[in-house]
């Protein structure tokens, strides 16, 4: 199993922040921001030293929770300070992007990192649709079309035009191209039937996130079925499970920390905004049912315990989800001390990582 460290640009606020999204820009503390970006480098170097396989970043906006609104900039910044670890974009929010620019930026990054780029393409969490005024009802279609345009932009040897539903270009001819041949490792990110269908049809990987093992196993089972229908089977490394992890020296200490983990979103949307989004943004799990998007709920902790327990849980995830990669967001509830995160990384790197390589 390969392990990715999900780097969020952790922002340690010097004062109590309002509990809302979007966070007022006036609440931003420049010194804390500077420390956050320096911390990105420190942690990325550290996980590389510990033997993690990837460091990942994800696009989010208007909040201190994840401080990377521009993924290419975050990835280029990290890449400049590490040497061997792979850089994973998990991922850019495709429906609110210019897909051609994304193709250009990711090709630049793949070349700058000398072929160490991993690319996941994301529809985005529901609140992000407010960031650039995206109609939630169109986000699914824009994601599918944008992903297809990115692939086409990388493959085509001649200038071409694109007559889409949501994107329209008369001249596309991307320079540079990605260094990795034929393309960097690619993933569609999401648990929906549409994400799996796209990934299967285009022979790319799938990244699922934060759901319980059983539900995520249902998604990857559906994905594998669709791959078979298109005449291929994904390798384990083509399935990523992004998850929250709470690791402590013992199971008891982990459970104590878990008790302090918030049950609701730390930065919620206003009720009427959340209701309007929920009405327009219905999601599904591998095509089953319609379920509301995740709005104003805290994402669960998926792995929790001391090192031995974490190893056992990772084995179970590997078994039930089929994931050959876990992308881990390390949680340190109740602590504003950056060293707590470094301690958690060290514990994982020394006590867990050596025991999951062969699973």
């Amino acid at each position: 199993m390969q392990v990715s460290y999900f780097e969020t640009g952790r922002y340690y606020a010097p004062s109590n922040l309002p509990r809302q999204w979007p966070m007022p820009a006036g609440a931003y503390d420049r010194a804390a921001g500077l420390r956050a970006f320096r911390g990105m480098v420190e942690r990325s170097r550290y996980v590389e030293e510990l033997g993690f396989d990837w460091v990942s970043v994800s696009e989010h906006h208007y909040s201190p929770r994840i401080l990377t609104p521009s993924l290419p900039i975050a990835a280029a910044y990290i890449a400049q300070h590490v040497h061997t670890i792979k850089i994973a974009l998990l991922g850019p929010i495709v429906p609110q992007s210019n897909p051609v620019l994304l193709a250009e930026e990711m090709a630049m990054l793949d070349t700058m990192t000398e072929g160490r780029l991993i690319v996941g393409m994301l529809r985005g969490t529901t609140n992000e649709m407010l960031t650039y005024d995206l109609n939630p009802e169109e986000s699914r279609e824009r994601t599918d079309e944008g992903m297809e345009l990115i692939l086409r932009a990388w493959k085509e040897p001649q200038p071409f035009g694109w007559q889409g539903r949501h994107f329209h270009y008369r001249t596309v001819s991307v320079w540079p191209k990605p260094l990795q041949q034929p393309l960097p490792p690619l993933y569609a990110l999401g648990t929906s039937r549409e994400a799996s269908d796209f990934a299967a049809r285009n022979h790319i990987g799938l990244g699922v996130s934060f759901g319980p093992f059983e539900a995520m196993g249902k998604v990857t089972g559906y994905y594998k079925g669709e791959c078979a229908r298109w005449g291929w089977q994904p390798e384990p490394h083509q399935i990523i499970y992004r998850a929250n992890i709470l690791i402590a020296e013992t199971d008891e200490k982990a459970q104590q920390a878990l008790a302090q983990y918030p049950r609701q979103a730390v930065f919620p949307l206003k009720d009427e905004v959340a209701a309007a989004l929920l009405e327009l943004d219905q999601r599904n799990v591998a095509g089953e049912g319609r379920r509301p998007a995740n709005v104003n709920r805290a994402l669960p902790i998926n792995f929790c315990g001391g090192p031995d327990e974490i190893v056992a849980q990772l084995k179970e995830a590997r078994e039930r989800i089929g994931c050959g990669v876990v992308d881990l967001s390390f949680q340190t509830p109740g602590s504003d001390d950056p060293d707590a995160l470094m301690d958690a990384l060290e514990l994982f790197g020394t006590k867990v990582l050596p025991h999951i390589r062969d699973i």
Binding site: L149, Q158, Q163
Partner: protein, 263 residues
């Protein structure tokens, strides 16, 4: 969908050739695919701006079996004569799939008459194992459309007519890579637009770039989420890009779409 299209017949090259026509404006001649003449919503949309003349090539539909035309070059000469017989001295030319190959030949033979060339899912270059769609209407729909469930059912084809057309296509179509044609394409004069649906299950859109590499003045545009029958599946998108190209040729790459939201 064919409202306003009248039917006519014209004598050319010893054939009695059926056509459907509507609209006024610059002439746009259409040569159909291997399945025969089938009007799509795009024909109607294009007829709002162009005089659209959609020919039924000899050997298709209810016409007699065509045992005389020897190859695509000869078929193109016949269709040029048919256009001439209708008084069309200069015209835009659109070819679909099989008809795309005939259109290429016509553009090579009479470049002074062809104002611009549009090739919808052209079949002049094909994978070695490509075959025209056949079977039940449902089988055909699965080959032609990315989303057959969104299309009206295809009409049942008379088996004798289908066999007659298929035999003709087999005889005149030429090889998947036609060296005689491809050797001439670098000399093709009319500005050319090549369209491929991103979900074309008959001819992979990945080969579209070959046209661009062979034809000096060629634009390649992908129509997202369309199968082989682009004009039927995404008629508005098809019509917009075709008419913009016919109006502006190379300059159609320059956007004239306003982006002002509130003046």
């Amino acid at each position: 969908m064919a409202a306003g299209f009248r039917e006519g017949f014209v004598e050319a090259d010893g054939f009695r050739i059926r056509y459907r026509e509507a609209g006024e404006g610059p002439a746009l001649v259409h040569l159909h695919g291997a399945g025969g003449l089938r009007l799509t919503p795009a024909h109607e949309l294009l007829s709002r701006k162009y005089r659209v003349v959609a020919f039924e090539m000899p050997g298709f539909g209810a016409s007699a079996e065509n045992t005389r035309t020897r190859d695509m070059a000869e078929l193109a000469r016949t269709m040029a004569a048919a256009a001439g017989a209708l008084g069309l001295d200069r015209f835009n030319l659109m070819g679909t799939s099989f008809g795309g190959k005939a259109a290429l030949w016509l553009g090579l033979q009479q470049p002074e008459r062809v104002l611009a060339l549009v090739l919808e899912s052209p079949a002049a270059i094909r994978p070695p194992d490509a075959a025209p769609p056949a079977g039940t209407p449902e089988d055909m729909a699965r080959r032609l459309f990315a989303h057959p469930e969104r299309q009206p059912p295809l009409p049942a084809v008379d088996p004798q007519q289908a066999a007659k057309q298929a035999a003709f296509v087999r005889r005149v179509f030429g090889p998947p890579r036609d060296p005689d044609l491809e050797a001439r394409l670098p000399g093709l004069a009319p500005p050319t637009l090549v369209l491929f649906g991103t979900r074309d299950a008959m001819i992979p859109p990945d080969i579209g770039h070959l046209y661009k590499e062979l034809i000096p003045d060629c634009h390649l545009v992908f129509i997202y989420d369309a199968g082989h029958a682009i004009a039927a599946e995404r008629p508005e998108a098809f019509t917009e890009v075709v008419s913009d190209f016919l109006d502006r040729h190379d300059a159609f790459v320059v956007s004239r779409t306003p982006t002002v939201i509130h003046p």
